[in-house]
């Protein structure tokens, strides 16, 4: 009986730490995007906002999800270095008109062609802590120590992905993922963290959906 109550309580607490994720998609058509064997795509983070940068860890996470489907993904830094300084925060094209103008420079165009990059996937967004509550305090004394109390915080991850085709300088699709969840830290002698995987969920959803742009697998 006690065991059943314990399992029920654990399931209730852990399910409270889940994240709610929604994804919006826009594509002119649902056909799979063409990608030849010698072509690749690169996932780039927007870094021109004042108060946040699209973090590299998230970009690597999405890139890993794509590579799982045998889609060749060039590492972000490798592409940025190969084309330096035209994809730095100051110089990176923010729109297709600017990209088209940039690619009119034969040196830049040939360098991009040499890299074999067909699609640019721009990721823009961040994960933020919105609200925090509760309090927890820890103390250590000779031979004894522990944490007591309870803390909670709410996290929100909002990311947008835009796919540009370098063959005809057009936008091929857009995705937006919103993920939110509450994490808890319970101090019952030892601190017990119950973390909501907000960023991981956002990455999984975005990666999975983006993969569908380039493959026919479900």
């Amino acid at each position: 009986m006690n065991k059943t109550i314990f399992i029920f309580a654990a399931i209730t607490i852990l399910s409270g730490c889940g994240a709610t994720t929604s994804i919006d998609e826009y594509r002119p058509n649902t056909s799979v995007m063409e990608l030849n064997s010698n072509e690749s795509l690169v996932i780039l983070g927007r870094r021109d906002a004042g108060h946040y940068d699209t973090d590299r860890e998230f970009i690597r996470c999405v890139a890993n999800k794509m590579q799982g489907a045998n889609i060749p993904v060039m590492p972000e830094q490798q592409f940025i270095d190969a084309i330096y300084p035209w994809f730095e925060p100051r110089t990176a094209p923010k729109g297709l008109r600017r990209l088209t103008r940039l690619m009119q420079d034969p040196d830049i165009k040939s360098q991009v062609d040499r890299q074999g990059v067909r699609y640019l996937v721009w990721l823009d967004g961040s994960t933020q802590t919105l609200e925090q509550g509760g309090s927890i305090s820890c103390a250590v004394g000779p031979g004894v120590g522990g944490c007591f109390g309870y803390a909670q915080w709410e996290k929100s991850a909002v990311y947008e992905a835009i796919v540009w085709d370098l063959n005809d300088f057009s936008e091929k699709g857009r995705l937006r993922v919103d993920s939110a969840g509450t994490s808890y830290l319970i101090g019952a002698v030892a601190p017990i963290p119950l973390l909501s995987p907000v960023k991981k969920d956002a990455c999984n959803s975005l990666g999975k959906q983006l993969k569908k742009f380039f493959t026919s697998e479900e």
Binding site: G45, R47, H51, Y52, D53, T54, D55, R56, D81, A82, I83, Y84, P85, W86, E88, P89, R90, T91, D105, D107, I108, Q111, V140, P142, G143
Partner: protein
């Protein structure tokens, strides 16, 4: 005996915690991290003077922070200048200039500023490097003194030591300096006018 052991462990922990919170940072920016530029240089000659002070520059944005950027900024700006001029010499003093009808450019650092999350309450470290480019012709006449600010910030400060974070932000600022130079140098009105004059003189001869 047991209490002594616990006290020792507690002292070590306290010491580690206090050292971890130390606010001094001595940063050395490695010079290997800079890519070459993708740019077709214009048919302009230039002598770039990186004097000893510039090559060995150590910025002290505040009393707790020092950043060795001399070697890195010399490499970075050398790369960027090579993308601007077809004929270039990189020298350590003006009396070594051998090119005729060339621009003589002496970069210097005006100021370096650093901001940390404890200053701004933002989750980023930021570095500003303010350069000055003194530009003369090969006769020693002043063409311009161009102010060139560069900026870099870390994506976030999570799990980064202050030293690593400032180095990362400084590297991004140096890359930004290269980008700014390539993007804006030929937009400086006095440089544009100098090029027009040189072209006219060339056509007349």
């Amino acid at each position: 005996m047991q209490i002594t052991k616990i006290q020792l462990i507690a002292s070590v922990f306290a010491l580690l915690a206090i050292t971890g919170c130390s606010s001094t940072a001595q940063v050395q920016v490695a010079e290997r991290q800079f890519p070459t530029v993708v740019s077709k240089p214009k048919a302009v000659s230039a002598a770039i003077i990186f004097d000893k002070q510039f090559r060995d520059y150590v910025a002290t944005p505040n009393k707790n922070t020092s950043i060795e950027i001399g070697a890195a900024q010399t490499t970075m700006l050398s790369n960027a200048f090579k993308g601007l001029f077809s004929d270039i010499e990189i020298l350590s003093s003006k009396d070594q200039v051998s090119l005729d009808n060339a621009l003589v450019i002496t970069p210097s650092v005006r100021e370096v500023q650093v901001s940390t999350p404890s200053d701004t309450y933002l989750n980023v470290y930021e570095v500003w490097i303010k350069y000055n480019l003194d530009i003369e012709n090969s006769q020693g006449d002043v063409i311009d003194s161009w102010f060139m600010p560069a900026y870099g910030k870390t994506p976030d400060s999570f799990m980064l030591s202050k030293t690593n974070a400032i180095e990362e932000a400084a590297v991004i600022a140096l890359r930004d300096a290269g980008a700014k130079l390539l993007l804006d140098f030929y937009r400086i009105p006095s440089i544009y006018n100098w090029m027009l004059r040189e072209r006219q003189l060339g056509a007349e001869q």
